[in-house]
């Protein structure tokens, strides 16, 4: 189908386990997927489903102590699992960069934003002070910050949340990464600003020929911007497929529950929003069965005792992990 050089990212059986006082905590388990160049992939799931840990592990940015990572992450041919900090440092910024979730905490409060941008340029690309400043101002302009030359010397505290997130994006883009990990890039922002930031990411992705991993809990965000979606629950992939298929032909009850719990414009006013009963499981006390079973209305004994593996659906590249999948909506015609 696609030859190896078109694959930017190959994740195979990735697991991230934190050692905690309560025992080993499997934040991510058995995750495998591939990503092509110039693709945008969405990772969705509730809080605590392992999205953020997964995106950081792919980058090799997990904490340096009390964590065990197994499996494999091939990023543009570079194995990230087990790589030394020095090796990964050589890839960060240039091969892969991250847009962090909360622009209120991800910028250094006592460093002028311009300095935070041109630091990468000077350290990683070896630019001169003057060149780096000029490039940093260009980057500020690129991410839509008005009067960038003036803002260059502002402190983060002098900017609004939306402006700060633009700065975070500018920092991530500074060394032209091939892969951009956007970890809930709009969660901390107003709804109107959210759309602006997401459109900006889309536009930059096209202009700079990047691939983007868009991590979010908001399905509305990924619907129109991604080609494929990974649905995560309790640290595992429970459904993966083309965006269209996940939205319209999902088989995993959790995916449906997630979709139903998003508000829709087409709903009549005062429609009660569907919620998913219960809470995500405690990762320290996972059962042998499907992690979603306790909250699932279709669950049977088998669901509680035996974990379903990903199995192919009718559509190509679409899989789900469920013993009692929803009937295929392709119906008899498929």
């Amino acid at each position: 189908m696609s030859n190896e050089s078109e694959k930017l990212l190959i994740v195979n059986n990735l697991a991230t386990t934190f050692s905690t006082a309560g025992g080993p905590l499997p934040a991510v388990s058995g995750v495998s997927f591939e990503m092509l160049r110039n693709e945008t992939i969405g990772i969705v799931g509730e809080s605590g489903s392992g999205k953020t840990v997964l995106s950081r592990t792919i980058m090799g940015l997990q904490p340096r102590t009390n964590v065990v990572v197994t499996g494999s992450v091939l990023l543009n041919g570079n194995e990230m699992v087990g790589a030394s900090e020095d090796f990964k440092r050589g890839l960060w910024g240039t091969e892969v960069a991250m847009v962090f979730q909360d622009p209120m905490t991800s910028l250094n409060p006592v460093m002028r934003i311009g300095k935070q941008i041109d630091e990468s340029l000077r350290v990683r690309l070896g630019m001169s002070k003057v060149d780096a400043k000029a490039r940093a101002i260009e980057l500020l302009e690129l991410v839509g910050i008005p009067s960038p030359a003036h803002r260059y010397s502002a402190y983060p505290g002098q900017l609004s949340g939306g402006m700060r997130q633009r700065v975070v994006i500018a920092i991530a883009l500074a060394c032209s990464p091939k892969l951009l990990m956007a970890d809930e890039p709009t969660t901390g922002l107003d709804v109107t600003i959210q759309a602006q930031i997401l459109n900006l990411l889309d536009e930059l992705k096209e202009r700079l020929h990047m691939s983007v991993v868009l991590v979010t809990h908001d399905l509305g965000v990924v619907a129109t911007r991604t080609s494929r979606i990974i649905v995560m629950y309790a640290g595992r992939i429970v459904e993966i497929g083309d965006t269209r298929d996940v939205f319209h032909h999902h088989r995993m009850p959790y995916t449906r529950a997630l979709l139903e719990s998003s508000p829709k414009v087409s709903n009549a006013s005062h429609t009660r929003l569907t919620t998913i009963p219960g809470r995500p499981p405690n990762l320290l006390k996972l059962s042998d069965g499907c992690s979603f079973a306790p909250r699932c209305s279709y669950a049977t004994d088998r669901c509680h005792n035996e974990r379903p593996e990903l199995q192919p659906a009718d559509e190509p590249a679409h899989s789900f992990a469920c013993w009692n999948p929803l009937p295929t909506t392709r119906g008899a015609s498929a």
Partner: protein, 316 residues
């Protein structure tokens, strides 16, 4: 920023005014009659009354204050009744010694505390951190006058290293090498207390800062750990350190007195203690005023530095 500085300066003037009243009034609180001190115990009551009037002590106290403050502002702190020398010239001779000890001790303390706190904070509860934390805690519980005595006993007497023991002080202009040798033990003694304070404050703030998201962000840029520590973690972690340093250095001016006295180093501390013993009230008053104003100015300076380091403070 300008508004902040103006406000602070106005506050500073107010504080110094209050200090001046305090140190002026100090003389009046002292027991005994100043005329007896000056004329000796055998003076006749008539002579005493005459002197009392001559010194202006019969005037209302606020008038006395204004006469005094006018003199102080024009650089005149009076002439000692005991030594017949001007208080200002005595202080001017002694103060550089205090300054030198202070600068030496602070350079030593910061030079040791900052890199060690950084290494400790990188691996909290690691072997180095445990050793340093336990060691600094032990040092914290030993007061400076014990440290100085032990050091004199060991280095100056047992090892017989020349020029570092008591009464070996030589001025800097006379022989700077001997001068540095003679001040080395007091500087090290005061540095130890400062080191413990700075190390502990900076270490705990660094550990907290290193948990921050912007440190992970800095790491994701692919910059070195060293650069993350110095450029990203150090500055936001140094606010408490600077606050502690401001208070500590002020305290050192006073804390160094005992050490100076034990080694007969003729700084302000030694001079003050001798002045108290000789009931040289004007000299006591002058030194108290100078030290108090010095402490306030040091604190003001550190507040100002904190502002430069963390721009969020003056904005709030």
């Amino acid at each position: 920023m300008l508004r902040y500085v103006t406000r602070r300066i106005l506050m500073l003037i107010g504080i110094i005014f209050i200090i001046s009243i305090g140190s002026f009034y100090l003389i009046h609180l002292l027991p005994g009659n100043i005329t007896v001190v000056i004329e000796g115990p055998g003076a006749s009551p008539a002579n005493q009354a005459k002197l009392f009037k001559l010194l202006g002590l019969n005037k209302p106290i606020y008038v006395q204050y204004f006469v005094w403050i006018k003199n102080v502002l024009s650089g005149n702190l009076g002439t000692s009744f005991i030594s017949q020398t001007s208080v200002v010239s005595t202080i001017r001779a002694a103060f550089p010694i205090d300054l030198e000890i202070m600068v030496l001790s602070q350079v030593l303390a910061f030079a040791a505390a900052i890199p060690l706190a950084m290494r400790s904070a990188r691996k909290p509860d690691g072997p180095l951190d445990r050793v340093l934390s336990a060691g600094s805690f032990t040092l914290l519980s030993v007061p400076p006058f014990v440290i100085i005595v032990l050091m004199v006993l060991y280095f100056a007497i047992k090892l017989a290293i020349p020029n570092i023991g008591p009464s070996s002080y030589v001025s800097f202009s006379q022989d700077w090498i001997t001068n540095l040798e003679s001040l080395s033990l007091p500087a090290i003694t005061l540095a130890i207390g400062s080191f413990v304070l700075y190390f502990r404050v900076l270490r705990s703030d660094l550990i907290a800062t290193l948990q921050e998201e912007f440190i992970t962000m800095a790491r994701s840029k692919g910059i070195s750990q060293r650069r993350i520590m110095w450029r990203h973690a150090f500055r936001p972690s140094s606010v408490a350190l600077l606050g502690a340093a401001g208070i500590n250095i002020g305290g050192l001016l006073a804390g160094g007195f005992v050490v100076q006295y034990l080694l007969s180093i003729p700084g302000l501390g030694y001079t003050l203690i001798s002045a108290i013993n000789q009931s040289d009230y004007l000299l006591v008053q002058g030194i108290v005023l100078v030290v108090a104003v010095g402490v306030v100015l040091i604190n003001f300076t550190f507040d100002f530095i904190i502002n430069l380091v963390d721009p969020r403070i003056s904005r709030e």
